[in-house]
Amino acid sequence: MTSIEPVILLSAVLFTIGAVGVLTRRNALMIFMSVELMLNAANLAFVAFAQQWGNLDGQLFVFFVMAVAAAEVAVGLALIVAIFRTKHSTDVDELSQLRG
């Protein structure tokens, strides 16, 4: 690849789709997957920029993002499972007791 702009644009597209997904979905799992898409987009940008600058920092950052994402997923899904046990639903709109 001689130019990374297309890659960054692609990452912007994916990031936006992820963000819209968070806003339009009402299933906690779907929201969460959309967030993963956003992180994925950010990773793509990191790798592209690493290529542009010719250093490894970007790739290393991606490495950490992935590890952190794994931890986040473990906790997040556990949370969704726990709520499902109480509420028998993964619909976040039904979780709106706290408000005002």
Partner: protein
């Protein structure tokens, strides 16, 4: 010497600590005695300091007790400055304070929360002393806020009545509106001068005799000075109850009467005047602000004076009168007559405290009957329409009230005459202010006369009034002392000696004010006429005495009154009554008061309307975030070079 400086603050604080922690065990009597003793001790120390100031070379004692806030350039010490100005005010605060403590022992006797009352009172004295003794603006602000807190606590002292709690909150919040100006002014001072110490700031502004402002090639822009002084004045508006922030003071009368006397008449409300006089170097060079100050003061005096004409609550009359007199002081300060302002502040402290305490004594006397008989029929013991003929039943109170009233009315030789006269003379070169103040002076005499007549003359208009009894010794003694002070207080700055002017010279510079015989004679005559008119109109005890005033009483009055009375009424009184009623309505019910409440309601309304935004839906929250993200990014894209 420097330890001596903290003692006046320390004594009342000791009282606070002991009474707060051991009050229950000590019992009401001991608590009251201790509080009074501590305040008296502070007074004695204040006297000592006063004498030291008078002999010291630079007429000031500085004392510093380490740094309070010190970070970078900002260095605010726990510094105290006792100079001619602050030492004079210290005497008033501790002296009048001690008398009012003494009076309170009798007044508050039997109240289940008496201990708390004395704690608040002592705390107030200490805070007020911090306010006047601090050597920098931030310390003044500390005192400023603390006295506000004490005022809040004391107004809401009988919080069982919803009205009182609300009055307390209103006072607190309105005062804090003023504080917005004050604290911003302080910050601007720091940015401009790099310090908050009076001494350093005023040195930069330059000698107050010269208007020119240039120090070491670093002149301060006049606009900045105007901004600073204006912000400071906003603070003064709040605390000293000036237009349009005066609305809290009449409501503040909900507190115990002695507290009203001390805080809302003699001392705390004059903090704004103290602040302006203390900052005279700044105000002196900011001519625009000073003119504005004078105008606001005069307007406040006029409006509050006219409202006082039609009040029926004995304390409300005094409250509006206080606002009006504060307007006099502020106007004087705005006119550059700082000595006159402080002079009036002091005499006013005497006679208004006296009037309040006397009024408290009246209320106390009025309550006597219903307390003794547990009468089911409850009349308002503060309503002047229920009084009348108390002259014989409460002789000491009566004479005290007379002295205070005549002093307020500005009759020679009472103290109020001398100080008010100086202010009016100072206003001679400003026609508008002069006209407003002159009118107010007439109002003052009139409503004072009206009050005196309605309360003490004629015949009793209620059982409570006919069974009223004179108060005990603890309450009478302060009345007597204050009467003497109100009588001779004018001696502080008698024409000829001009003692106060010389005393304050190191702080405010020389001001060629003085005595103007024609003016003095004219205003004495006017006051007499107004008093006489009040006497004539209210003597028979029929006017304004119906608890449900009716317009039809106008005609019956016309039949009986003298012709000159009718003329007077038609030409002067009626318009002013109309004005008074109108202003009372505007300022008390609908207008500014309403605006303050309205803003409160509005904000609450907005808040309540916004609440559904917090819908509880995660996705909506995300949406709000994205709105923020998009707006933020758009802002950055547009505004980045």
């Amino acid at each position: 010497m420097s330890t001596l400086v903290v003692l006046p603050i320390l004594f009342p604080l000791i009282g606070v600590v002991i009474n707060a922690f051991l009050g229950k065990r000590l019992g009401e009597k001991v608590v009251g005695a201790l509080a009074t003793l501590m305040c008296s001790a502070a007074f004695v120390v204040a006297l000592m300091l006063f004498s030291q100031v008078s002999v010291s070379k630079e007429h000031a004692i500085h004392a510093e007790f380490g740094t309070w806030i010190g970070v970078g350039k900002l260095n605010v010490p726990f510094g105290f400055l006792v100079d001619s100005l602050s030492s004079a005010l210290m005497l008033i605060i501790t002296g009048v304070g001690a008398l009012i403590h003494l009076y309170s022992i009798g007044y508050i006797h039997g109240d289940p929360r008496a201990n708390r009352y004395f704690v608040y009172l002592n705390l107030f004295v200490a805070s007020m002393l911090v306010l006047v003794m601090g050597s920098n603006y931030l310390l003044m602000f500390v005192g400023w806020e603390l006295v506000g807190l004490c005022s809040y606590l004391l107004i809401g002292f009988w919080f069982d009545k919803v009205k009182n709690a609300e009055a307390a909150r209103k006072a607190f919040v309105v005062n804090r509106i003023g504080d917005v100006g004050f604290i911003l002014g302080i910050m601007l001072i720091f940015v401009t001068f790099g310090t908050l110490n009076y001494h350093d700031i005023f040195a930069v502004v330059g000698d107050h005799k010269t208007a020119a402002l240039a120090l070491a090639g670093d002149p301060v822009a006049p606009a900045v000075l105007s901004a600073i002084t204006l912000l400071l004045f906003i603070g003064a508006m709040g605390k000293s109850a000036q237009l349009p922030l005066f609305v809290w003071l009449p409501d503040a009368m909900a507190g115990p009467t002695p507290a009203s006397a001390l805080i809302h008449a003699a001392t705390m409300v004059t903090a704004g005047i103290y602040m302006i006089v203390r900052s005279n170097a700044l105000f002196h060079v900011a001519a625009d602000t000073s003119n504005f100050v004078a105008l606001i003061g005069a307007l406040t005096a006029f409006i509050a004076g006219s409202i006082a004409l039609r009040q029926f609550d004995i304390k409300k009359v005094l409250a509006y009168s206080t606002v009006s007199q504060l307007g006099f002081m502020i106007a004087a300060a705005g006119l550059g007559a700082y000595t006159a302002s402080i002079f009036h502040l002091m005499t006013h402290a005497f006679f208004k405290a006296l009037l309040f305490l006397a009024a408290g004594s009246v209320i106390h006397g009025m309550e006597h009957y219903s307390h003794a008989h547990h009468s089911a029929q409850h009349i308002d013991p503060q309503d002047m329409r229920n009084m009348g003929g108390l002259r014989g039943k409460m002789p000491v109170t009566f004479w005290a009230f007379i002295i205070g009233g005549l002093s307020l009315a500005g009759l020679p030789p009472f103290s109020g005459f001398w100080s008010k006269d100086e202010i009016i003379v100072a206003a001679l070169h400003n026609p508008l202010v002069f006209a407003l103040l002159a009118c107010t002076a007439v109002f003052t005499a009139f409503y004072t006369g009206r009050q005196l007549v309605m309360v003490f003359f004629g015949s009793a208009r209620s059982k409570d009034a006919s069974h009223a009894e004179e108060s005990g010794m603890a309450m009478k003694l302060p009345l007597i002392v204050l009467s003497v002070l109100a009588l001779i207080g004018g001696g502080l700055n008698l024409p000829g000696s001009m003692w106060l002017e010389h005393w304050l010279e190191p702080v405010v510079g020389v001001h060629e004010g003085g005595f103007n015989l024609p003016i003095a004679a004219l205003f004495s005559a006017l006051a007499l006429v107004a008093l006489a008119a009040a006497w004539v109109m209210y003597r028979d005890g029929k006017r304004d005495t119906s608890l449900t005033p009716q317009l039809s009483s106008v005609s019956s009055f016309l039949n009986k009154a003298w012709q000159i009375d009718a003329l007077y009424r038609a030409a002067i009184i009626m318009p002013f009554y109309a004005l008074s009623s109108f202003l009372a309505r505007v300022f008390d019910l609908g207008g500014i008061d309403g605006a303050v409440n309205g803003i409160g309601t509005l904000t609450k309304g907005i808040a309540a309307a916004l609440r559904p935004l917090q819908s509880g839906f995660v996705r909506s929250y995300g949406l709000v975030m994205i709105v923020g993200v998009v707006a933020l990014m758009a802002w950055l894209v547009i505004n980045t070079r």
